[in-house]
Amino acid sequence: MSEAHIGVARPRIDAPDKVTGATKFGADGYVHGLLHARLVLSTEAHARIRAIHGDDALSVPGVVAVLTAADLPTATTGTDRAAEPLAREEVVFAGQPVAMVVAETEAAAEDGAEVVMVELETLPPVVDLEDAMRPGSALARLVEKAEGGSDLESIHAGVDHGQEDAEQEQLSANVLDRVQRKNGDAAAALDASEVVVFGTFRTPWVYQAYLEPQVATTWLEPSGTLVVSTGTQGSFVSRKELARAFGLPLDRVRVVAEPLGGSFGGKLALIEPLAAGATLALRRPVRLVLTRGEDFLATNPASAQVTHLRVGARKDGTFTGIEARMLVDRGTNAGWGVEGITSSLLVGPYRWEAHDIVGYGIQTNRFTFGAYRAPGAPTAAFALESLLDELAEKLGIDPIEIRLRNAVVEGDIGISGNAYPTIGAVEVLERIREHPLWSARASLPENEGIGFAAGYWPGGNEPAAAICRVDTDGTMTVVTSSVDMSGVDTGFAVIAAAAFGLDPNKVRVVFADTATGPYSGASGGSKVTYTVGKAVEGAARAARVKVLAAASQELEIAPDDLEVVDGVVRAIGAPDRSITVEEIVGKALRYGGRYEPIEGHGGSAQTRGAPSVAAHLSHVRVDRDTGEVELLRHVIAQDVGRALNPALVEGQMRGGAAQGMGWALFERLDHDEDGRLLTGSFLDYAIPVAERVPEIDTLIVEVPAPDGPFGAKGIGEAPVVGAAPAISNAVAAATGVRIHELPMTPPRVWQALRQDSGPTETPA
C-alpha cells in the first residue's frame, strides 16, 4: 500500500466532461416519447381548495392531462411532500403545487398551466414566527392528516431530542416540537459569573440557490418498474420515499442519480414524486424541470430562526453557563425541523459548566423547510460567536484566546452526554491565530475591522458499501451508489489507488443506481468521504488480497512477502521478482482461467463521528454613509482530518465561506403579511457574485480521523458555519455596533449605525 498519491492536488475526474459541455445533467438526456410537466402553484399561503378547473388547459393543443391530487396514485395520507405531491383539500403555503399540466412540449404545458383555474377559499395565514407559537394563534394547518413516516431528518445528523422538561408551557398547536437540553443549573452558573452577556439573534429563510433548478424524469419499463432519473442527493432515499408514497415494492422503483448542478441539502425526494405521480397516472415518460421562479417558490429552503441567548464567563475567561430559547420556523414541514440540530450545536466546540437550551419547531404558512449545508449550524454560530466576542471584549481577553481556553478536546463530554471523538478545535484556533491578518487588526484605517469566529459540524455516519474490480488492462473500476457531489469520486479514486497499490489515473469511478449498486446513504451530513470512502478502501484492500493470492502462486512467494506498487506485485526487498497486476488479471478473466476475478467488496459502519471545526477571519470596510459592508479579505482554517486532495478540500472551504458571505450580507427570503414570497427571483434574492467575494486564504489543518479512510473525513459543511459571525464580528470591530439580524444589508447597517448602540434586547 502506498500513500504517495494522497495529499496531491489533482484535477477532478469529472472536470473534462464538465468544461466541454459533455456532462448530461438531469434536464439534458433524451427520452423517447417524453411528456413535459408544468406546475400550477398556489397563490395563497393558506386556503381551502374549492375546485380546480382544467378544461381550458385541456383544450390547449399538445396538452395531454391536467392532474390534481386525486389523479395521483398516492398510497399514504401524510402531509410530507412525497406523500402529498399535490395539495389535497388544504393549501399551506404560497407556492405549493396544486395541479400539474402534462403536455407534448414544455411550451404547451406552460400555456396549459396558465389557464388552469384554481378556486381557493382564503384562510388566515400564519406568517410571524413568534406570533405563531402563542396560545390562541391561528393554526397553519387545519386538516388533520395521518403521519407519512418520512425519516429525512436522520440523513443530516444523528440527533437525539434531549429530555423533556416537566414544567409545561402554554403553547399554540403550531409548536410541533419542543426539545430541551439541560445539564446542571445554567441559571445559577450565570448568576455566579463575573460577566454575562445576552442578545436576540434573527436569521431569515435562506435559499440553497443551487444553479441547476430541480429536475426529475420518470418512465415505466415494460416490466412495470418505475425508473426515476433525477438530481438527488440520495438515490436509496428517493427510492424509499417513492415506494412509500405510491405503495410500490422497493424493487419496482429504480432511482438513477444524475450529476447534480449543486444541491447543498436541497435535492432529496422533493419533486420526484410529482413526476413519478404523473408517469404512474398516464403510463408515459414525464419530465419536470422547475423554472427558477418555481424553484424559489415550491422547494425547501433553510428556515428562519430566532435565538435568545445568554452566556457567562469567569474573570479568567472560563465559560460558565449557557441558556437559550431557539425558535425554529419549520414552515409546513410536520416531519422534522432543525430545532434538534441547532439546539445541540449552539454550545459550539466549547466546554460549558451548565447548559439549558430549549428549541421549538414551529409551523407557519411559509415554504416547506429543508436542509441547507450544515442545517441549523450557521444560525446557532451567529448567535454564539457574536456573544463570545462580547464576553472577550468585556473581559479584555483576545477573542481567539478566550475560545482556546474553552475549546473542547477529545474525551470532553458534549451536550448529548457523549465524549467528543478526535476533534481539532485547538489546532484550528492556534493555526488561524498565526495568520498575519489577525495581527494586522491593531493598525487598521477607520471603519475597517477584522473579525473572528469558529464553527463546527459533528459529521454523520451511515453504513455504506463499495465494489472494486480490476480489468485485464490493469485499470480499476470503483462502484458505489453515492451521488456526484463535491468531487467525492476523485477522492474515491485516490483512496482505492492507495489501498490497492495503483496509480489513481488508472481508477475509474462509477455511480451505480439503486438496481445495480451497493448501498450508500444520502450525500448529507458530511459523511460520504468518511463512510463511503471507508467502504471503498475496504473494497480495494479486498481486491488486493485476491491479487496477492494469485501472485503468490505465480511467484511462489508467500502473500505476506509481497507488495503492490503502481500496478506491479513484487517481492518485498526483491523488486525484480515481480508480476504486473495486468498479467494476473489476464490469467483470471478468461475461459479456463486460474484465479478468482480480482474484485473486492468493502463496507463501513463507523459509530464514532468525525467532527470538523473551521475558523474564519474576515476583514471588512463599512461605509458609514450607505451602510454597505465591503469584504476585503477572508481567511479560513479547517481541520479536515486528512486532505486526500488539497485542491478539492480548499474548494469546499472557499465555497462554504462564500455561502456564509451570502448568509452574512445578501440573502433573505421574505414574505409579505399574507405569506406571499417577495424575493422569488435572482433579481430580488442576491447571492454572492465574483466582485463581492474577496480572496479567501485557506489553511488546511490535519488532525487524522481515526476511523476515516487514511484519516480523512467529511468536510463540506463545517466551512459555512462560522463565516457569517466572523463578518458580523468584523463589522462590530469596525463600527463598535453589533448587528443582531442577518443579512447585514446596507439599510440594516445604516440604521444600526444611526441608533445608539444602546442596550441589547432583554433576555429571554
Binding site: A9, P11, R12, D14, A15, P16, D17, K18, V19, T20, G21, A22, T23, K24, F25, A27, D28, Y30, E106, A107, A209, Y210, L211, E212, P213, P259, L260, G261, G262, S263, F264, V289, T291, R292, G293, M485, S486, G487, A647, L648, E650, G651, R654, G655, A657, A658, Q659, S681, F682, L683, I687, P688, V689, A690, E691, V693, E695, I696
Partner: protein, 160 residues
C-alpha cells in the same frame, strides 16, 4: 405556428423551425441537442446559458431564436478542436475552476469573450466581467485563477 430559422452553429449551417416565442437557448438545447448551454434562471441573471454570438458572449435566454437569424453561434461543445481542449477549458481543469460544473460552460464562454478583447486582464477586470455569471460552489477564486492562467498561456502561445 413555426418559423424557419437559419443559424451557423459551431461552424455548421443549421436550419430549424421554431415558434416565434422560442428563446435561443431552447432552440439550441431542444432543437439542436446542444445541452451544454444550461438553464439556471428565468430572469437572465445567472449566465449558465451563455454562448458566443458573432464572437461576443450573450446569455442565450435573453434573445429569441429568430433574433439570431444568420448569426454565428459558438457553444461550449465546439470550443475544443481536434480533441484538444481550448486553453481556457484546460485551465479550468488544471486550476480547479469548477465544482458542480453547471455554471462552467457559461463562465468559460464569458472568459473567451473577455480574453479576446483584453488578453491580460487584472483580477478586478476578471471579477467584473463575471458579474453576470453566478457560481454557487467555488467562491470564485479558482475561477479567477483559471482565467488569469489561461490568459497568460494564450499570450505566450501568440508570441511563439
Amino acid at each position: 405556428m413555426l418559423e424557419p430559422l437559419q443559424l451557423v452553429v459551431n461552424g455548421e449551417r443549421r436550419s430549424l423551425d421554431v415558434e416565434p416565442r422560442t428563446l435561443l437557448v431552447h432552440a439550441l438545447r431542444d432543437g439542436l441537442g446542444l445541452t451544454g448551454a444550461h438553464i439556471g434562471c428565468d430572469t437572465s441573471q445567472c449566465g449558465a446559458c451563455t454562448v458566443l454570438l458573432d464572437g461576443r458572449a450573450v446569455k442565450s435566454c435573453t434573445l429569441l431564436a429568430l433574433q439570431a437569424e444568420g448569426a454565428e453561434i459558438t457553444t461550449i461543445e465546439s470550443l475544443a478542436s481536434d480533441g484538444e481542449m481550448h486553453p481556457i477549458q484546460r485551465s479550468f481543469v488544471e486550476n480547479h475552476g469548477l465544482q458542480c460544473g453547471f455554471c462552467t460552460p457559461g463562465l468559460i464562454l464569458t472568459a473567451t469573450d473577455l480574453l479576446s478583447r483584453d488578453p491580460d486582464p487584472s483580477d478586478d477586470t476578471i471579477r467584473h466581467s463575471l458579474r453576470g455569471n453566478f457560481c454557487r460552489c467555488t467562491g470564485y477564486e479558482t475561477i479567477v485563477e483559471s482565467i488569469r492562467a489561461a490568459g497568460a498561456e494564450m499570450r505566450g502561445s501568440v508570441g511563439r
